[in-house]
């Protein structure tokens, strides 16, 4: 086995698009980990979705052999939704390459990731990337980066992941600066699970960092958080393809075929130890249960696809321990599931995978946060706006708050203040990273962030501002439930919980939008928004008076019949709310957050 002093466990952390995957590609090439003919871009991003979006969703751990050293590169997801998962990946390392696009400068996720890495006690190697770009500003970005990590500017490395310039030196620097792992080979086994995947043939594969002791095949092990025991099947490493090894020793990173069949039994952050009375007394620190932050109802566009949706969600959950779901019945949308996600990106990914990998057509309700409804001593958790009790029936409502970090060129500070103010934000502080760039902290309700905040931020700052946030707990808030009624019938899918001051505006927007979307019926249809019994907005779709085609002669009859058959099919696809027929498209359009935001922008 490798002498622990020759092992380096490190990761690359960066804001999205700062070149993490490209640098990883260069490292794979430099260490000859992948044969030239097998090399492709974003080698470590295996899912189509990751490659298309240029993001990392699942962590990867790849072992690189270089000049006698064993280098374990752990590729981490880099999005705010996956902060907990990132923190566990970082806990598996001793060092982190903090990568910053020299043309862009420090961004919000640079900060968030840096703080996570520092809190995990990692050695930070600050690196400027993309120095081949004409717009790269090595001096200014280097200064920002040096200031952030508290080093001298001469200690900031400069590379180009694209051309490979500086990458060899960087690897030498990682070896020089990042300390070897310090685990105790003779102590009882403790291995940290930093990710897992489900293999249909082999069951759950855990990605592990062995902290103490040794991990062998055919050993009885104990999962400390879940309390489960199993017999290990196979330890191995990714080089970068899976390769079995006899054992993984303290300090090493690799995988373990766990012998378990359910990914929920193998939780990120859990500690694996030996089964029985010799097991470790203390788990590794930092474990917590995955906590859905954002909820949305997912309904099959075709009612008959309900069981297919359930099967698809079950299958996705095999590989995604953070996904939560429970059956939901909507009067308007039929049978579906209320699903909980780590954040908006996670929600998008799940929805896209359901549609793409399982061929489902889905209607998603607008995302919402989880509210706490307080009645005396009792607190009820509500994660579906239509289940929110009417005001007056409880003492208070609490909503989740976040601390948001925004980094922006100073010229956009005005629009950002305006946006945050309009989203019930409270400024905590602001500091200048340079005369041109500022870092702002806001206390904001999460509900406001998930309501197209990121899109608004991008459009108001022409894409130059970056955002990251961390939850800070629940706080009481003046929230009310707004219902939308069609011809007197509430449409549960359109119910929303919003701040009292914004409720009327929200109601008016929904009502106006629906007036455009609901086709005329045989009677006048009233569209109303209400808060409790109070109507705050109303529109009417006037009864339709004419749909007949004027002419119907010899050749028209076939055409006319086909038209009627089409209309019949169209009608069959409509959802019925009371007496009102609502086309699927109307639901989809009305529920699209960006459309609603567009309506808001017009105001």
């Amino acid at each position: 086995m490798t002498d622990p002093t020759l092992i380096r466990n490190f990761c690359i952390i960066a804001h999205i698009d700062h070149g993490k995957s490209t640098l990883a590609d260069r490292l794979l090439e430099l260490t000859h980990a992948v044969a030239d003919r097998d090399m492709r871009e974003q080698y470590l991003d295996k899912m189509d979705l990751e490659r298309e979006r240029g993001i990392t969703i699942k962590a990867q751990a790849v072992r690189l052999a270089y000049e006698g050293f064993e280098l374990n590169l752990i590729d981490t997801p880099g999005h705010v939704d996956f902060t907990y998962e990132v923190s566990r990946s970082l806990a598996a390392c001793e060092g982190a390459v903090l990568l910053v696009d020299a043309a862009q400068g420090i961004e919000a996720q640079t900060l968030a990731n840096y703080h996570l890495a520092r809190d995990a006690g990692l050695t930070i190697v600050p690196v400027l990337n993309k120095i081949d770009l004409p717009s790269a500003d090595q001096v200014e970005t280097g200064r920002e980066l040096a200031e952030l990590v508290g080093c001298d500017i001469s200690e900031v490395f400069a590379v180009s992941g694209k051309t490979g310039e500086g990458v060899t030196d960087l690897l030498a620097e990682v070896i020089r600066r990042v300390p070897p792992p310090s685990g105790d080979l003779d102590a009882t086994l403790r291995a940290l699970i930093f990710d897992s995947s489900f293999d249909p043939y082999r069951g759950v594969v855990a990605y592990v960092r062995v902290v103490d002791g040794e991990l062998h095949a055919r050993t009885k092990v104990h999962f400390m958080a879940t309390g489960l025991d199993s017999e290990t099947e196979e330890p191995g490493i990714f080089a970068p393809e899976a390769k079995p090894v006899a054992r993984l020793e303290a300090g090493e990173v690799g995988y373990l075929v766990t012998g378990l069949k359910d990914v929920h039994q193998v939780k990120v952050g859990d500690t694996i130890t030996i089964s029985g009375k010799h097991r470790a007394s203390e788990p590794l620190p930092g474990y917590r249960e995955p906590l859905p932050m954002v909820w949305s109802g997912l309904f099959p566009a075709e009612g008959g696809d309900y069981s297919e949706l359930r099967d698809a969600l079950d299958r996705l959950k095999l590989n995604d321990a953070a996904l939560a779901f429970e059956p939901e019945t909507s009067l308007a949308l039929g049978f579906g599931f209320r699903c909980g996600f780590l954040g908006l990106l996670h929600m998008d990914i799940v929805k896209e995978r359901l549609e793409r990998e399982f061929g489902l057509e889905l209607i998603a309700t607008a995302p919402n946060v989880e509210f706490h409804v307080v009645r005396g001593e009792e607190t009820t958790v509500v994660h579906n706006p239509s289940e929110m009790p009417q005001s007056g029936t409880y003492d208070s409502v609490e909503e989740p708050m976040v601390l948001a970090t925004i980094i922006t060129p100073t010229e956009y500070l005005g629009p950002i203040f305006e946006l945050c103010q309009s989203r019930r934000g409270e400024m905590i502080d602001m500091k200048y990273l340079s005369p041109q760039r500022a870092e702002v902290h806001y206390h904001l309700p999460l509900a406001e962030i998930i309501f197209d905040f990121f899109d608004q931020l991008k459009s108001r700052t022409r894409g130059y501002a970056s955002l990251d946030y961390e939850p800070t707990g629940y706080e009481p808030s003046e929230l009310v439930r707004v219902d939308v009624l069609l011809h007197g019938e509430p449409v549960d899918a359109f119910s929303s919980v919003v701040h009292r001051e914004k409720a009327a505006v929200y109601g008016r927007q929904m009502v106006e939008r629906l007036r455009e979307l609901i086709p005329r019926q045989l009677f006048d249809v009233a569209i109303q928004a209400s808060i409790g019994s109070r109507i705050v907005a109303r529109e009417t779709v006037k009864a339709k008076r004419k749909d007949v085609l004027a002419k119907c002669y010899g050749g028209d009859i076939t055409r006319k019949r086909k038209l009627l058959e089409q209309q019949k099919k169209g009608k069959a696809r409509m959802r019925r709310v009371g007496r009102v027929d609502v086309p699927q498209e109307a639901f989809i359009a009305a529920l699209r957050v960006d459309q609603r935001a567009a309506a808001e922008g017009k105001k």
Binding site: L522, F523, K542, K544, R545, K546, D547, V548, L549, A550, K551, C552, Y553, G554, G555, I557, T558, K560, R561, L564, E565, Q567, K568, K571
Partner: protein, 366 residues
């Protein structure tokens, strides 16, 4: 069951922006060949129809009156020769007010065309311009006067309402002028925007407004009132006639009786089979001249198709759908809201119901 003969004449002086019929301007040089092809096609297809007795002929277009009187005469004589056509059969020819003078009108009647159907469209110059019609209201009055003088005793005027610029007032003028001219029959069509027409493209590009269905409904109701007052019976969604002057040929379509179709793009129907000729005149000519039937396509109606057609056609001609055909409970909401009435064991649309016929069909055909 009696049958009808439809003959399509695809020639026009100009193409109107709203029209999606199989009609062409600038093909007049094909007329001689075309007439010969019609005669030939009649010969080719007549054996299939030997058992059928015919009670109507309809020359539609296009503008059939662009053909020479002599050709029209030969054509009808030939049809009488080849098909078992009743001596008193209704023989209609469509005419454009600008293509008929007194001599033509005399000739048409003499040739045996006893029913004249003229495209008046509107008496409002603004509406005529929006429809890209060349004639002016005066030429309709003139053509009507000359038709009467020539002895035409069964005349239809076609009207179109709801084009750009149409108002209740302009439509009322058109209706009054029409009634004053005293035709035996009137067809009044709500302008329908067909995507494949120049007007359809204009509307799609936003250069021309789409007709307002609510205004068209008002215009329809006004037409119903004016025609009723003037003694015309409303016997199909868009058709009114003095008693006894209902168009026998068109009723054939709506009562699902058989019909032969001759000419480019013409449709034929018998025994739940519908088929149609190729549309481009040159293609039609080439096939017929080679001695082939110019069939371009066909469909066989499944029982469910036939049922759907039967339902919507019966509703269109106010004959109504027998109550026993309708699933219990389906008609009631429409009876209550006054779109249907029950009459002698059938559900019949009211005037408001006629305008919402699609909804009625979808509900009643189940």
């Amino acid at each position: 069951m009696t049958a009808g003969i439809y003959v399509h004449v695809p020639f026009c002086l100009t193409r109107c922006g709203y029209c999606d019929f199989n009609a062409y301007a600038g093909l007049d040089h094909l007329q001689n060949r075309y007439v010969a092809a019609l005669l030939r096609e009649a010969e080719l297809t007549a054996p299939e129809w030997g058992s059928e007795s015919f009670t109507s002929v309809f020359l539609g277009g296009g503008t059939p009156t662009t053909l020479k009187v002599a050709d029209l005469k030969t054509l009808l004589a030939h049809l009488r020769d080849r098909f078992d056509l009743a001596p008193n059969a209704e023989v209609t020819i469509e005419a454009n007010p600008d293509t008929v003078d007194r001599a033509k009108l005399d000739g048409i009647l003499d040739a045996g065309y006893g029913r004249l159907s003229m495209g008046a469209q509107s008496f409002d110059p603004v509406v005529l311009a929006a429809l890209e019609r060349l004639h002016d209201p005066a030429s309709v009055r003139r053509a009507m006067r000359e038709a009467r003088a020539a002895g035409h005793a069964n005349v239809n005027l076609d009207l179109i309402y709801g084009a750009q610029g149409e108002t209740l007032a302009s439509w009322e003028t058109t209706l009054r002028e029409t009634v004053d001219l005293g035709p035996e029959h009137v067809s009044a069509y709500a302008l329908t925007i067909e995507p494949s027409t120049p007007l359809g493209r204009k509307v799609a590009r936003g250069e021309s407004p789409a007709p307002d269905p609510d205004l068209q409904a008002d215009l329809f109701e006004l037409a119903c009132a004016v025609f009723a007052e003037a003694g015309y019976g409303h016997y199909e969604v868009s058709n009114w006639a003095k008693p006894g002057f209902e168009c026998a040929h068109n009723l054939g379509y709506w009562e699902r009786r058989p019909y032969v179709g001759l000419g480019a793009g013409a449709h034929a129907y018998r025994d739940d089979r519908r088929w149609w000729n190729v549309r481009p005149p040159e293609e039609y000519l080439a096939l017929v001249e080679a001695g082939k039937l110019p069939v371009g396509g066909e469909e066989h109606l499944e029982p469910s198709d036939a049922h759907l057609e039967e339902v919507f056609l019966r509703l269109r001609i106010l004959e109504g759908v027998p109550t026993s055909w309708v699933e219990p409970g389906r008609a009631e909401p429409f009876l209550e809201s006054g779109l249907l009435r029950e009459d002698d064991g059938a559900f019949v649309p009211t005037e408001r119901g006629l305008l919402l016929l699609n909804e009625l069909v979808l509900a009643l055909a189940g």
